[in-house]
């Protein structure tokens, strides 16, 4: 039974039986592969997974996320990354090796409410995720429009090899930063194009479960420009 047939599932649905490897969002209960979340199931040659349509963001190492500073201690910032765990951004990440808690003022670099693009540096189940902004494309976000979509729909917004997001960027000339946690920052000089890009993103959020979404988005982007 080798078919990659996609099927809508809800928790408890038996997707298939047989010697498959359970991957994301499925469990194996005596030879039956059961979905654990609402989503679309996909059967591969030897494995089964469910692409979720709802749910919270769970941090994963190396994910790009967009966070909001909520507070700081003398050694680190606490960042809301739209997850069940707060992100920890160590002060040495910004001040460098010779960081002195007694003299360096954390507030001078990042204040409460600031948005940052960050990467999950380390996360395991025993501790809160450690995040970093020490990379070229990371750091404080100064401009752009923030919109929030469901984290489970981020892969759809990006598309296969970034096809969807490239489509929107090309059509509107906008720069879009997507955090895996569902936060998206769009910056664009042309206000009309910005609105169109936002509309496209919202459309993907609402209709992520539908097939040939790329064509629909393309249609929408082109219809107004014509």
């Amino acid at each position: 039974m080798v078919n990659n047939k996609r099927k809508y599932v809800i928790p408890g649905d038996v997707i298939t039986t047989g010697p498959y490897r359970p991957e994301q969002n499925v469990i194996l209960v005596d030879n039956k592969i059961i979905a654990t979340t609402v989503g679309v199931s996909e059967i591969y040659d030897d494995s089964v997974k469910v692409i979720p349509l709802t749910g919270m963001y769970i941090p994963k190492n190396n994910d790009l996320v967009i966070g909001k500073i909520t507070s700081h201690s003398s050694l680190s910032w606490e960042v809301d990354i739209n997850s069940c765990y707060p992100g920890m951004l160590p002060a040495s990440d910004i001040f460098g090796r010779n960081f002195q808690p007694s003299t360096d003022e954390l507030n001078s670099k990042l204040k409460k409410g600031d948005l940052i693009a960050a990467r999950i540096a380390n996360f395991d189940r025993s501790r809160d995720p450690l995040i970093t902004i020490a990379d070229r494309e990371l750091g404080k976000i100064d401009s752009g429009t923030l919109i929030q979509i469901s984290p489970s729909k981020v892969p759809r917004l990006i598309g296969k090899q970034g096809s969807m997001i490239q489509l929107i960027e090309m059509a509107t000339n906008a720069t879009i930063t997507i955090g895996q946690n569902g936060r998206v920052v769009v910056s664009c000089d042309n206000p009309d194009a910005l609105l169109k890009a936002l509309k496209a993103i919202r459309m993907i959020d609402e209709r992520a479960h539908m097939a040939n979404l790329t064509d629909r988005v393309k249609e929408m982007l082109e219809s107004k420009s014509g």
Partner: protein
């Protein structure tokens, strides 16, 4: 509850119950998923005259902190009846009964949830009874399960629920308020339909071993009917205008 004398005819000679149903018929059940904007997941259920809203938050930080478990996530459940949910104003403070039902529902949902992926967090389930008729715990459990699925919390299976009971020496499905008050037994059952496991089981009344078996079987048939409605509620919300399938 040994079957109090009352002037209501619970079951007439044709096998029709006081609200016009047959012995194997549930009340009308409708469920809608995703009714609250601020909750992570929600559902509204009408189970006969029961009207219940379920809201789910989480997984999220545990407060107070000492409740957190470093190995796994925890679930909390609050069942509350609105002051206007019954004929005589109900004091809004949680009563003994509500605390107990909250605990019982928490334990009925727990086996279905996979919380060990989220250590140090809590899933909060809030159940608000807007209008109560008999069997509100079953209705609340069914709604809670839809709300949890709506919130995207990993579950082994949905939990559906329905009661069965005994009136006029006959086993009936889905006990309503009159039958609960005047009947001989009431058995609320929570059931995972795909795993075929019972997660909630209570019994108020006296049954013979044979009646007991039949009553449980009847309740499970009811659970399966409720499950179809739960399934539809979730599919309507998520796959409402989808084309494939």
């Amino acid at each position: 509850m040994g079957g109090k004398e009352s002037d209501v005819v619970l079951l007439d000679e044709k096998g029709i119950r006081c609200d016009g149903r047959t012995v194997n018929q549930t009340r009308k059940v409708t469920i809608k998923a995703g009714v609250l904007k601020n909750a992570d997941g929600s559902a509204y259920i009408e189970f006969g005259d029961n009207k219940i809203i379920a809201g789910v938050f989480g997984p999220r930080d545990v407060h107070p902190k000492h409740l957190a478990n470093t190995d796994t996530g925890i679930i909390r459940c609050r069942y509350h009846m609105s002051p206007f949910s019954v004929t005589e104003r109900k004091h809004p403070a949680p009563s003994r009964r509500e605390i107990e039902i909250g605990k019982v529902l928490k334990e009925a949902l727990k086996p279905a949830l996979i919380l060990d992926k989220f250590p140090r967090t809590v899933v909060d389930v809030f159940l608000e009874v807007l209008q109560a008729d008999g069997g509100s715990r079953c209705a609340a459990l069914a709604a809670a399960s839809v709300a949890l699925a709506d919130a995207g919390i990993p579950m082994r299976d949905m939990v559906s629920a329905c009661a069965a009971g005994k009136v006029a020496d006959t086993i009936i499905l889905d006990v309503n308020n009159e039958e609960d008050q005047a009947g001989q037994a009431d058995m609320p059952v929570g059931y995972m339909p795909n795993l075929e496991k019972v997660t909630l089981f209570q019994l108020d009344g006296v049954l013979t071993p044979d009646e007991y078996k039949k009553c449980l079987e009847t309740a499970i048939i009811g659970c399966k009917q409720v499950y179809e409605i739960q399934k539809k509620a979730i599919k309507d919300k998520f796959f409402g205008d989808g084309e494939n399938q």
